[in-house]
């Protein structure tokens, strides 16, 4: 809660001064734990949570060698585009008629994605740039259930987002 309070103070609207870097991984770990809870709740939901629609979701697979070969801009674009797509997919569930428990998980996930974007901004990670017309977007996947969507959500946060924040250049300045 203390870490969230720090995040709220830093990210409150109207704050013109630049954010101080949030390098403490416990902030992201908190969001990841809430994503675990949401995934578990959706998995238990099963039939009640099955919606006959497809969601566009980011790819979550990480090859450590390939990831290390990418520069910070490529990694940032990978994470920012994935967060953008996830946010759109989960936000589309707010309009669906879900139980209160599931609705709270959906709302928390949307809020956490916004907070993660603030953390990335504090670390001077480049913002998401939508592809221009004719340009190729990052490779995505299609998911057909809410349960599968929240699985993508947790895997994306644990994988690519965690790797990007853990190795942010701003947080490792002066360390050889």
């Amino acid at each position: 809660m203390q870490l969230l309070c720090i995040l709220c103070i830093w990210t409150r609207p109207g704050l013109s001064s630049p954010l101080r870097p949030i390098c403490d991984l416990r902030v992201l770990n908190h969001f990841i734990k809430e994503a675990w809870d949401a995934e578990a709740a959706m998995r238990a939901c099963q039939d009640a949570c099955n919606i006959a629609t497809n969601f566009t979701a980011p790819l979550t697979r990480v090859d450590f060698d390939d990831w290390e070969a990418m520069n910070i801009e490529e990694q940032a674009q990978e994470v920012q585009s994935g967060l953008h797509v996830l946010n759109e997919a989960i936000s589309s569930l707010q309009a669906s008629n879900q139980t209160d428990v599931l609705q709270s998980h959906i709302d928390a996930s949307i809020s956490n994605i916004a907070s993660i974007r603030q953390v990335l901004r504090s670390l001077s990670i480049p913002e998401y740039v939508p592809p221009t017309s004719g340009g190729e977007d990052k490779e995505m996947q299609k998911v057909s259930s809410i349960s599968e969507l929240f699985q993508v959500h947790i895997n994306f946060l644990r994988g690519k987002v965690h790797l990007l924040l853990a190795n942010a250049p701003v947080c490792h300045q002066g360390v050889s």
Binding site: L25, F64, D65, Q151, L163
Partner: protein
């Protein structure tokens, strides 16, 4: 040449085998542990960056791994095959088949299957990042923290780049030899201070590691090898130990210098070291007390008389006498006793030096002899003094020798001495000339009866103190026939107290008498 080459190949093969064995110890132990703990048919774990999946050999089979096929797929892509290998576990009769996935995909569902004869034998869906099986922490160190009841424990994390911020450790510690232990869990940090420990106690410490379960999950690693640490003793005990050690070191570096102060009560405290003043105040009591310090600085005028011939031990005695002579030369300036003439060395082994040596070699003789008493003093009253004295003058024994030989003799003392005071001897001297001589006599021999004119005072000179006490008349009679040595002590006090000492100091005679033990 062929044999040499064959030997080299054998050596290389053995080295390779040893390398493989050592390198695979962790792998095999992990396989063995999962065989015990994991219930899934396909058991998987990640060591560094690659996922390994294995399964047990079915019964009724003959270890034909070629019949097995292992496939994996992810993100709805086509299945990919993996090369199957076999491993026979040491210590058990089990054989497992395993596959190590090249370029393992993380953070995405992975579908794995085992086929045999075209049919699916086992299948499983898993995320590789949930199955880390790390090696134990490295370089476990346990040190005292300098504070009571504490130990500092530190270690190094596994060599993994991305996962080191997501690890937790378990530190187990127990008193050595005890089965009861405690466990501490610590996140990320690779050091821990154990608190509340018993003082001055040996503890065993172990550490293991696993992912923290947030970004990564996995199994507990094996425990490290235990490391011993000893806590500091409690404050009181430690201070006592420290003080004892310091005192011991202090005694070793600066040993106490013996002081004769206790023999001269008040000399330093009252009279500020003024010996003359102290002597004048302690005139009467001094003669009943051991006299110290005079042997080197102020030689006594007493002569040690002996009738024992010491011809048989001339050489050794001469060596001793040569050493003594050197000391004597140093004192010649101070001495006015005329100790320049030396006795011709007696042929037999009754020189004082030999007596000393014998006593040192056989200290029991001191008690067994029943003879050596420090309080006996002998003074010879030489009736035919002139001639005998001249002869005896030649037998001078260096007074500066450590005269530790103590002896008593039974004899009769013709002098009426009530106390070991040479002055009293002087006063009570009877017929004949009282010679300021002392003699050292040894029990096994008796003095030759010199006649009624002889009186003897046994003198015991320890080299530091001289005890003078009268000798009983019965002891005089028991004195054996010995050639007597005279021993002049250049002690001006004695010179002061004994008028006749001047004659003998001029003669410079010294004697050493003693029996053969």
């Amino acid at each position: 040449m062929t044999k040499m080459r064959s030997d080299r190949l054998k050596i290389v093969f053995m080295l390779c085998l040893a390398f493989i064995t050592i390198g695979g110890q962790h792998f095999e132990s992990k396989v063995a542990q999962l065989l015990r703990d994991e219930t899934e048919d396909i058991k998987c774990f990640v060591e560094v960056k690659d996922l390994t999946c294995f399964w047990e050999e079915e019964e009724e089979r003959n270890n034909l791994h070629d019949q097995y096929t292992f496939t994996y797929s992810y993100e709805n892509k086509n299945k990919m095959a993996c090369v199957v290998s076999s491993l026979s576990l040491l210590g058990s009769n089990k054989t497992v088949f395993f596959c190590k996935l090249p370029k393992t995909p993380f953070f995405t569902p992975l579908d794995v299957q085992v086929f045999r004869d075209g049919r699916v034998l086992y299948s499983r869906s898993l995320n590789a990042e949930n199955f880390w099986f790390l090696d134990p922490p490295r370089n476990l160190t346990v040190m005292t923290s300098g504070k009571e009841g504490q130990l500092n424990v530190s270690w190094l994390p596994p060599l993994l780049k991305y996962i080191d911020d997501s690890l937790i450790y378990e530190v187990r510690y127990a008193v050595e030899g005890s089965n009861m232990g405690k466990v501490e869990v610590i996140k990320v940090s690779t050091m821990l201070v154990l608190l509340g420990l018993q003082p001055y106690t040996r503890y065993k410490v172990w550490v293991r590691v696993k992912p923290d379960g947030v970004a990564y999950k996995g199994y507990w690693s094996a425990w490290t090898e235990p490391v011993l640490g000893v806590t500091q003793p409690s404050g009181t005990c430690f201070l006592m130990l420290l003080e004892t050690k310091n005192l011991f070191l202090l005694k070793k570096l600066w040993p106490d210098i013996p002081s004769p102060e206790h023999k001269f009560p008040g000399l330093f405290t009252i009279y500020k070291g003024d010996f003359k003043e102290w002597m004048s105040q302690n005139n009467g009591s001094m003669w009943g007390r051991s006299v110290h310090v005079y042997t080197e600085e102020l030689p006594s005028p007493l002569e040690v008389l002996s009738e024992v011939s010491l011809t048989s031990h001339g050489t050794s005695q001469r060596e001793e006498r040569q050493a003594v002579e050197e000391d004597k030369e140093k004192e010649s300036e101070r001495s006015d006793s005329g100790l320049t003439d030396r006795w011709q060395e007696p042929p037999e082994a009754y020189c004082l030096v030999e007596q000393l040596r014998a006593l040192q070699e056989n200290p029991e003789s001191l008690s067994q002899s029943l003879l050596l008493q420090s309080h006996d003093t002998y003074v010879t009253l030489n009736q035919n003094s002139q001639g005998d004295d001249e002869r005896q003058v030649d037998d001078v024994f260096e007074e500066t020798l450590p005269l530790q030989m103590l002896f008593t003799t039974a004899g009769r003392m013709s002098l009426n001495t009530s106390h070991s005071d040479l002055g009293s001897l002087q006063q009570s001297s009877g017929s004949g000339r009282l010679s300021s001589q002392s003699s050292f006599e040894y029990p096994n021999h008796t003095w030759p009866p010199k006649g009624p004119g002889y009186a003897y005072m046994a003198v015991a000179d320890s080299g530091v103190s001289m005890d003078y006490s009268p000798m009983s008349s019965s002891r005089i009679a028991a004195l054996g026939r010995h050639r007597m040595y005279t021993n002049d002590y250049k002690n001006e006090i004695f010179l002061h107290k004994w008028p006749l000492s001047g004659q003998h100091t001029q003669s410079g005679s010294e004697s050493c008498m003693g029996p053969g033990w």
